[in-house]
Assembly symmetry: C2
Homo-oligomer: 252 residues x 2
């Protein structure tokens, strides 16, 4: 098995931790990384707190090949990500003249103020990541990618970042599901299938929407296409042997 690059996500946002906002960025980043053969190992959601941001980014950037940060790069008082990242890297956080000119042009000379100018501040050594939605860029410094929290902007930034990363061998998957299937009934035989394929991850995911819409999905994941096909075939047979009606793919 190829050793794929590793990644982590750092979500900075009181609004996620208070329950105000349902995060959707983690899932978007996770999907992109998986398709590119980059293994997402850990995600942390932390508050808008400078000390916690510094500690977290320093832990994650030492432990993983890539760190993706979302949130806290706007112009208001609660946007403290860049200051914290600069502090974590031990570098100043100056105004980037070119980005400042870009923002001034977009906003208008008369309206451009210190709050806007704050969005042109990047840790020294950072490279801007363009923002096609609302101009104020994200940036990359070493292995840390700093993006906006607004999903539409985050996606536009991440879509530009992804092709520039060192990709691993893609992690692919194949799934079968069966309504009313019981995990307990298939667990023994499923473990036996997993034992035959040490280079694959076989996951069992029960779903429960209501009395009618429930069952389990079995997902085979890995890099070896041929092994995935064979394991998925065995899963299909297991479902049938147990008296279930397997469907290919994921339950809706």
């Amino acid at each position: 098995m190829t050793l794929n690059p590793t990644a982590s996500i750092m979500v900075i946002g009181n609004e996620i931790l208070s329950g105000r906002t349902q995060d959707v960025n983690i899932n978007y980043i996770a999907k992109g990384l998986t398709c590119s053969g980059i293994k997402l190992i850990e995600t942390r959601i932390i508050p808008d707190d400078q000390k916690i941001i510094i500690k977290t980014v320093n832990e994650l950037r030492a432990a993983y090949d890539y760190v993706f940060s979302t949130g806290g790069i706007g112009p208001t008082h609660d946007d403290i990500t860049s200051e914290a990242i600069a502090e974590a890297f031990g570098v100043p956080n100056p105004i980037h003249p070119e980005i400042s000119r870009l923002l001034e042009e977009h906003i208008g000379k008369e309206k451009y103020n210190d709050a806007h100018r704050k969005m042109a501040r990047f840790p020294l050594g950072a490279t801007p990541i363009p923002n096609p939605v609302s101009v104020a860029p994200g940036y990359v410094i070493n292995n840390v990618y700093v993006m906006a929290g607004v999903p539409q902007i985050m996606r536009a930034m991440f879509d530009q970042i992804l092709p520039t990363l060192h990709h691993g061998k893609p992690i692919v998957s194949k799934s079968w599901y069966a309504l009313h299937a019981s995990e307990g009934k298939i667990a023994h035989d499923l473990a036996h299938i997993q034992d035959q394929f040490h280079n694959l991850d076989i996951g069992s995911y029960p779903f429960y929407k209501n009395e009618d819409q429930n069952g389990i999905a079995l997902v085979v994941k890995g890099q070896d296409q041929d092994a995935i096909q064979r394991a998925a075939q065995q899963i299909h047979q297991l479902f049938i042997r147990m008296g279930y009606d397997p469907q290919e793919g994921e339950p809706i």
Copy 2:
């Protein structure tokens, strides 16, 4: 300000990290905790990996008053949470006779097997949390609450846990939003409002759905109802002063 209890969430799930599944449990727990005056400080999403689970739960239970764990308590080979929790606490993970009888009764004597029996294994000293959806319980050991990952089951468990926790003074909030409002334009005056209310958190959250549906929401959060009303009133006036049309609540 009352010192509210603190909490963390540990989501155990390869399926979240691969992007297969959009987590919705964090948001549900976060909302419940906020209403109960319990401060969620950190959330980690980690893989089905025993060493990582042990390290994470030991870090979180030392740092926060409560730890809420979701996922990995089913009967299949990839369900390793209870083994890891027992190891983290340095206790055995025996079959709980009463829970085993309960499961056997529910599943049927002939069908009841070792995989089912695995769901009756709890770290020694744990107290079961009933599962009204599919019988197999979660449990609490010291300050760690171990719940299922399936949202419907997780919710049923968490709803039983929440009233038993030590509640803090509720954290309440008041929001105003305005379409087409610019963060840069209001940032200076908003910081001035924040400066007057040191016991409140004022957050500025831009939203962007499309060219028409975008703007900012300003959220005042804290424990002092009276201060929240006064800060929200100032925010309302700020929006008007800047030529926007403020709406109460959150943008849809």
